[in-house]
Amino acid sequence: MVIEIIEKILLLSGMVALGFIIGMFFNGFARKVTARIHNRVGPPIYQGYLDVFKLFAKKTNISHGWIFDLAALFSVAGIALAFLFLPVAGISLLSTEGDLFLILYLLAIPALGFALGAGASGNPNAAVGIMRALMLMLAYELPLVMVIVAMMVHYNTTSLATLVQMQSNFKWALFVPQFFIGAIIVDMALQGMLMEKPFDIAIAPHEIASGPMVEFGGKHLGALMLYKMMAIVVETTLFVDLFLGGGVVLSVEQYGWIAYLVNFLVWFALITFVFFLALLINAVFPRFRIEQALKFYWKYDALAALLLLIWVYAGVSI
């Protein structure tokens, strides 16, 4: 019993560590890809690790009081929590203990914690940035939840682990005609979720001095960077779990540990690919204003999602 518990704890902390390591890799990867598109050399691909290390090695760390500190705590803890509740490469550590609704709301813990700390700094830029971030959230969540609800009703489950299981043997949701469109809609929502251009409205460095992060430096900024990097992993994994079968290609019963390895590699390749798509858009677009983003999501994306809902409702499949 005790050994089991220790095993579980080690497995979970290993998963969190893995998430952070992949997240930091993604930071360097993103900067490299963007640089290559801009015809630059770009930083080394391990730049993310250096940045985080440097931030945690800073000599002074200023804070604006205990509410300000909650940002660092809740953002890192919350995003790690959300990661644990996702099935990763078919391995569901805690994902059977909750479902998709829980994940959607767990994703709000780091966001609200971060907003709390940013607001506590008392900087007006931070407040404006948070306002934009929350409104963007409202904007992209509508098409996202519409598609997710359509999937839940279609597959008659709300559990993400079950959804991944149903998509095994390459019965990916992407290959169902309705959800191919759904995937496109969610991919657009993902662009806002990842806060890549044209939706990097909240952290616009040139307008509002990086918005919510304006007062964060040293270890606080390091914690926030960890959150942002891990958020990329969590959000792309959510997409992969929803539409690409969570990266499960080999069944564990048949192939044993090789299946774990292969599934894991496939999952990693898929989330990298999804993130790569977002980066391609990010590298060439300017920035929306916030009401333009709201109108984009609620007019075009949500309208497409509404048609999808009607399609699923009618049960028509071509």
């Binding site: 640089a35 801009h38 630059r40 250096l50 002074t60 992060m213 007062e215």
Partner: protein, 182 residues
């Protein structure tokens, strides 16, 4: 692992991840875009322009400083978090440059905040800026870029000089002189 080793590793990593806030006064800001974009691309050294001093490691001052501007520079410098480095850019920060005889610009920046590195020239070319960055990295690696320690150590002296520059009435100058005598 000994403390010294830890510091060495820390410096080794930190020099490859320098974030910069540029205080764009004067005409020097014009030379920054080529440094950042595809011609010279400073990001290959892990350098990045940041939005606020809280996040930055380098303060780059790109030209002459009026007394009023100096006030803001000091504010920004003090908001940065240790370790922090200052690069004076162009001859204006060294000796006032073409404003050498102006009544309201400061002549020597290092009197007011510790400058780790100067880039001479009016204007310095992007190559010179890149060279300065590499030199600064070298200095950090060797532990020579200790401006932030100097600012802590000689804080009173720097403050006195700043007050002297900000003083615009005779009695304020007199007060400072009296304080000096103490």
């Amino acid at each position: 692992m000994r403390n010294e080793d830890w510091k060495k590793i820390s410096r080794l990593v930190s020099k490859r991840s320098l974030w910069m806030v540029h205080f764009c006064t004067g005409c020097g800001a014009m030379e920054m875009p080529p440094v950042m974009t595809s011609r010279y691309d400073m990001e290959r050294f892990g350098m990045h322009a940041m939005a606020t001093p809280r996040q930055a490691d380098i303060l780059l001052i790109t030209g002459y400083l009026a007394v009023k501007t100096l006030k803001r520079v000091v504010q920004v410098y003090e908001q940065m978090q240790d370790p922090k480095y200052v690069i004076g850019f162009g001859s204006c920060t060294i000796n006032g440059g073409m404003y050498w005889d102006s009544y309201n610009t400061i002549k020597d920046l290092s009197k007011y905040i510790p400058v780790d590195l100067y880039i001479a020239g009016c204007m310095p070319r992007p190559e010179a800026i890149m060279d300065a960055f590499l030199k600064l990295m070298d200095m950090i690696d060797k532990g020579e870029a200790i401006g932030w320690k100097k600012y802590r150590k000689y804080y009173d002296q720097y403050k006195r000089n700043q007050r002297m520059a900000f003083a615009y009435r005779l009695d304020e100058v007199k007060e400072i002189k009296e304080d000096d005598a103490k």
